[in-house]
Amino acid sequence: MAMADEPGKKSDKKGKRPEGKSDLRETNTGVKVKLFYDPTDVPPFNDEASLGNPGQFPYTRGIYPSMYRGRLWTMRQYAGFSTSENTNSRFKFLLNQGQTGLSLALDLPTQLGLDSDDPLAKDDVGKLGVAIDTLRDMEEMFEGIPLDKISTSFTINSTASILLAMYVATAEKQGVNPSDLRGTIQNDIIKEYIARGTYIFPPEPSIRLIGDTIEYCVKQIPSFNSVSVSGTHICECGATPTQGIAYPFLTGIAYIQEVLKRGYGIDDVASLLSFHLIAGGVQFNFFQDIAKLRAARRLWAKMMKERFHSRSEKSMQLKFSTGGMGGGMTEQQPLNNIARISFYALAAALAGSQSMNLPCFDEAYAIPTDEAIRTSLRIQQIIGYEIGVPDVVDPLGGSYYIEALTDSFEKEIVVEMERIESLGGILRCVEDGTIQRQLANQAYEVQKKLESGALIKVGVNRFRIDEGDRELEVFEVDPQTLSKQVSRLKQVKADRDQTKVQMMLKALKNAAIEKTNLMPYILDAVRAYATVGEMVNTLKEVYGEAQHFSVF
């Protein structure tokens, strides 16, 4: 309640009064914030418990002691298209341009376990990413790129185990020890059911398969992130910033529990998980996104320590990449998107992200061109090398506003996690459509606010211009991709030992029935040049297929 003697609260003659400290304003993301913050907004905070130094529990300020002075975030841009030869040359181009990791886009048939010659695949082969049918494609894609020298991030989920096996087999062929591989497979099926749609099998065997890949990585490739739990896609699909942390945390815990029940300890597993979180996108607020990610880091550390009794620092250190966010890009005045991308990237850097892949300014037009991808990489490099951002760790730490926001985000994330758990848990809420319905409603409300002007989007509902007929240069996929890829596949099938393939597929099927870890069987099938489709169809015979989760 306003107090009469508070100077800032007096009305002036025009009926307007200057705002006082406690007058609340609702931000673009619906968070109520004060006019300014001071020491009274930050609980007499015990630095040790809530902040600590960088690299110290609870890691609010960053997971490494020297953060970007030690090593900048990994700079990746999502790339991959058409055939493995084309992707190979784009990878070499990007590495040549100073990119330090690869982020591989796979086409939808590969993501859904359909071979390029499958009738259902015909429109999508090589469109949104590269087509991978057999180990041969993977070998050619990394031709001349030594796998122990780079880290590769695979946006792959339902067929992650197969693609991981292909990466391992390619390393073997290059003479690289698989234990030296670095990278990430997305391997997060729950957000596929919620937001992205590339699910194949029902939840139970899908989660078991994720457990198999984690278990395999624990034993064989300990520095490979076997899961990248994603909040980004669900935020792009309508989740609030708070939900964008709460749901991936619940999801990550579900995967951890799958492995714990196989007799592993928390510290065997937790450090193999990384997260893919959003800084940017449709519901972007610069300071809030920074605070949210700091809060996420603190909360994860506390959960690992207090709830899971972890004793390893690595388990408590929340590693995350920031990426995606194409939903924030506008068709109108597309060069404005370069400014937006810069703010997303700056927020991610100020929040201590481990890796970035940024959207491109032409996302609303088509698959990004080389120029657009390069521009997004340059934004990362300008922040990393040119303007002094990496010199000091967590430069916003101690800001009354940032710390107050960090505290309130942490509380809200806990409340949302508890709400979902009280409704039966994340998986239950996905299976009955609760979460999908909620996100669809929220996305619709945001769209209505954009149309009414209640949410300002520059160039869209304010400061518009006549766009005329301007067309950006758009990226074109080689129209011969489908026929080229189908004939490559035909050739591989002609060259391989058919009996061996059948034997390996049969062994895979038996292992699926027995519910033993499938990774060794998938590796054997991959080495025999079985196709992605053959392996997935074998598993479909045992697991069946998922219902449709897309409700609204």
């Binding site: 609303a364 037009y365 669809a440 996305a443 619709y444 007929d469 449709h548 609204f552």
Partner: protein
Amino acid sequence: MPEKRTIRVLIAKPGLDGHDKGAKIVSKGLKDAGMEVIYTGIRQTVDAIIRAAIQESVDVIGLSILSGTHLSICEELMDKMRKEKLRDTLVLVGGIIPKKDVSHLKKMGIAEVFRPSSTLSEISQFIQSSVSK
């Protein structure tokens, strides 16, 4: 005065892409504009979309395509619709469609293309004026 008939719309997601936030938002928007809307869900074949359109006797089919597959999918759909004699069904496409493809799609018989800058009111007004003609 004849009673105003409710416009029936099928929103469909052809191809393998599963990003259907846009399809759901448009479905909700058209519903709120007073239309009856059926959403197919993701990963529909052209044949399944045509079957649903016939079964539900819709006035409008709205395709949501973000994956660069619009030309081949629309060509197949329009061919098959001609064979099924679905001449009166209005077909709209929304999504990530490069401007240069718009005239090509219209030549195929697509009534209108809604790119990312389109609003819900533009879409519903277009449907209302085209269907009542």
